[in-house]
Every structure is written in structure tokens, then in C-alpha cells.
Symmetry: C2
Subunit: 298 residues, 2 copies
Amino acid sequence: MNKIAMKTALEENTRAVNQTLDRLLPLDSELPESRLEEAMRYAALGYGKRVRPFLVMASAALFNVPEERALRVGAAVEMVHAYSLVHDDLPCMDDDELRRGQPTVHKKFDEATAVLVGDALLTRAFEVLAADDTHPDSHVRIELVRALAEAAGPTGMVGGQMLDLLAEEKALDVAEVTRLQRMKTGNLIGFAAEAGAVLGRAPETSRHALHAYAHDLGLAFQIADDLLDVEGDAAVVGKATGKDGARGKSTFVSLLGTERAREQGRMLADQAARHLEVFDEKADPLRDFVHFVTERRS
Amino acid sequence: MNKIAMKTALEENTRAVNQTLDRLLPLDSELPESRLEEAMRYAALGYGKRVRPFLVMASAALFNVPEERALRVGAAVEMVHAYSLVHDDLPCMDDDELRRGQPTVHKKFDEATAVLVGDALLTRAFEVLAADDTHPDSHVRIELVRALAEAAGPTGMVGGQMLDLLAEEKALDVAEVTRLQRMKTGNLIGFAAEAGAVLGRAPETSRHALHAYAHDLGLAFQIADDLLDVEGDAAVVGKATGKDGARGKSTFVSLLGTERAREQGRMLADQAARHLEVFDEKADPLRDFVHFVTERRS
């Protein structure tokens, strides 16, 4: 798949995911609490690359999973991702006023609403996974719930956020930054890539290959993010750049320098692609995605 | 069961629930992110009546559910309750410095940690429900996840919190306060009372009876809370009293006056007990609990 085809595939994916999110996050403006629904939609349906849903869709396609099921799981992962951004942007956390080129939820609404929006999106994600429509087999649904909770909880994403907060006071080495990033973003990306195998009741070996792929992809993705923070243009990236440096945070780039970080990113990307060797050409979107991620400019 | 026996039963329940929470929220002080685990334990294991776990245990006992399963579900509900208190106490929400007689999480730790503690406890609750140890049948586990997400999410507890925030700017009538309280606290209490029936794969009629019981109990509980806010002594209640009045919030007491509110509470309590008529004396702890709740002084 060339770059243009990949871009089209991603846009098509984003459209389908957004339709699903639109359906799963209904707005009933007659309800007195509709402000919450409105803010949930603002947080989840705004601009975004829908990277995690794309991984769910692409991995589910390997096992001929009906698209509607993969879309629901993709939407659930996106809700979790969106909630983490809303809470991360809060004044007491990263204190960001701009996200994806738009005012963050606490700026657009208010802080209390932003706290509740995060809580509501996280809870709704589990509700979506647990519903019959996600998969007729309750074993599959409960495994999705278990794996998402593990990836997003204290030993995963939230634990990584805690490390990130603590890192503002303490310099980290490469091993520590790797662990932090694996927890903060890698685990959820890993869940997304594995979810297709769970939905398709694929053999353990396939699930492990996708896990290993996502593992390396996640770090490559983070390095690309760090490079954008140093080299990117805020107008293109859609959020403030140069933040990590200003805060003195340890990143792959601050520890390795841009050149070695870029090299490391390429190496991880190649490694990610190699884990897909067990799959045939059906895995090409996952292969192409690696390069799309590491070469992105925003 | 007389008052003393009830108190003993509740204390025994609290001890067992705390042991389970202690096990499900381990602390590994070697981990760099152990501050999160420490704060989660502070939030969930501190003083508290463990009302929701008691309801799970008492309803599970009706269907001879093994205690260990009910304790896990009780602990999960308590984690959700604890998370809601941590977020509710934040400066941007209710801005409380004292909870159950101790500094709130954001005072003891910091705001960012408090946001993450809430997120982590909520996620961990779903992880606990999804684990094999909670019930061997995945149908049961997924139904617990679905029902908890529904009770705690935007159409339940979080929606109720949103209404509560909005109520600071707008006077509510009795119907609106009833809906708010049902969403904010009633739904989770309802889940707790129904969970035993789910664990016991009890017939729908039993589940409905427990739901109706919890429905009325939840409101009676809330009225008792409102009365304590007006009449209680902060030292005994363990949190600031007189808050609702100071904020001009509409409550059952502000709308009905103390006498009619007390009457209403008694009526709801009687009604709650009547829903238990389909059960034999095994439901006595649930019956006695109604009176314990409405007559409590703290």
C-alpha cells in the first residue's frame, strides 16, 4: 500500500469509527444532564487520528471478524484514549489549553465537567464491550473487558501517568523511560492490536505476534511523538510543542539525542514489522501502518 | 436481629471486605509508581461503613453464593464508591478537605494523584469482576460488568454527579431531586443489592425484588443523609455538616422540611422492606439493614 492509499484507508477508518462513536454516545438535549453527553461527544468525536481503532480493525480483519464488532471495540478503546487525554489535560495534571487544535474539555466546558467526562467515557467503554452486540460469545466479551482493564488500569496506563507525574521531579534513564511509555501508551496500543485476535478467537500464537508487534510499534510511535515535540510545528501538530524540554522531562530524544532516537525508532519499526511475518498479505495494512506512524509529521 | 447484632454483623462484614480490598489492592513499595497504589489503598481502605459490600453479601447469601465470590464483587463496588468520593472531593468539584474524619486524597497526596486514584480504582473494579475467581461462568461475570457500568456511568452515577453540579445553579423540585439521587447513589446501591442475585443465577423475579428494595432503600438512605447534614454533629458524622444549606442546594429536607422528610424516609423504608416479602427469613439481614440505615446517627 502506498502512502496515499494508506491515508485513504485511515480516513475511511476514521469515518466508520466516528459513526460508531456517534451512535454509542447519543445526545438527548432534553435531558437536564445533557451537558455531560455533549462534553463526552466533544472529547471523543473531535479531530483525532483514531490510531487505536485502526489497529483493532486491521487486526480483526486478519481473522475475518465482522466489521461491526471490531468497530464497537475500536470505539471503546478510543473512549478510553479520549478519557485519558481529558484527565491528562486538567490544570492539576499537564495543564493544557489546546488539544488537537481545539480548546481542551476543561477550557471549553469547565474542570468539574472534564473530570466527569473522563469518568463517564471510561465507564461507557466497559459497558460497550460488555453488550451482546460486541460478540455473541460471553467468553470473548469478558476477555476483552479483562484485557482492557489490565491495559488501562494501575499496572498499565494509569500507572504510567503516575510515573509521568513523578518524572517531573526526577531524571529517568532510558530503561525507566521505556517502562513509563510502555505503561502509559504501549499497553493500550497493545490491547488494540490484540483485540482483533480475541474477537476472532485466534490461536495464542497469533495473539502473541500482535502483542509483540504493538509493543514495538508503541515505542516507535512514542519516539516519533518526542521528535515532533522537538522538531514539529505547533500549527501542524495541533498542540503545543517544545513542552517536554521546557519541563525538563526525560524523553527518548533528551536522553539519546535526535539522531540516535530516530535510529532507534526505525529499528523498532522494522522489528514491529518482522513480528507480522506469521501473517500473509492480509497483514499489509498493519505493516504499512508502521511506516505511516514513524514518518508522520503531525 | 437486634441493633447490637446488626452492628456486629456490619463490623464482621467490614473486616472481611477490608481483607479482600487489601488483597485486591496490593502495595509493592519497590515499584516507582507505588505512590499510586498507596493512595488507592488510602482511598478504599480507610474508615467507611461498607454499605454496598454489605448489600452484595446479604443478597448473595439468599442464593447460597460462596462468600469469596460475593466479597470480590463487594470489593469492586466499594472501589467504585471510593473512586466517586475521591473525584467528588476535588477542589473543582465539592472541594472537601475532610472525608470520614481524615484528610481527603488530594489533601493527603495531591490533586493529580487524586484524579489518577479515581481512574485507577474504577478500572480495577472492572478488572476484578472480569477475573475467573469472581465466578466460573463468564455469562455471570459479563452481566456483572454490564450492570456495574450501567449503574456507574453517564446514565447512572456520573450523570447524577453532573446533575448535582448543575443543581448549584438551579433550584430543583422533589421529582428532580429524586431523579438526581436515584442516579447519583441509588443506581450503585441497586447494583449492589442485585449483584447477589446475578452471582446466584437467581430467577428474574428475585432480581427485580432486590432492585425494588434497593431503589427505595437508596432514597431512604439519602434522606437520612440530608437529615444528618442539617441535624448531625460533624465530629460524629466524620465530615463537614451544614454544607447543603450553605450552598443553597435543593435537598429532600430543604424542599419538604425535616418532619415531612423524616416521614418520607420512614415510608420508603417500610416500602423497601415489603419488597423482601418474597424471601424467607434468610432476608432478615436485608430487612434489619433498612432500619439501621434510616436510624443511623453517623
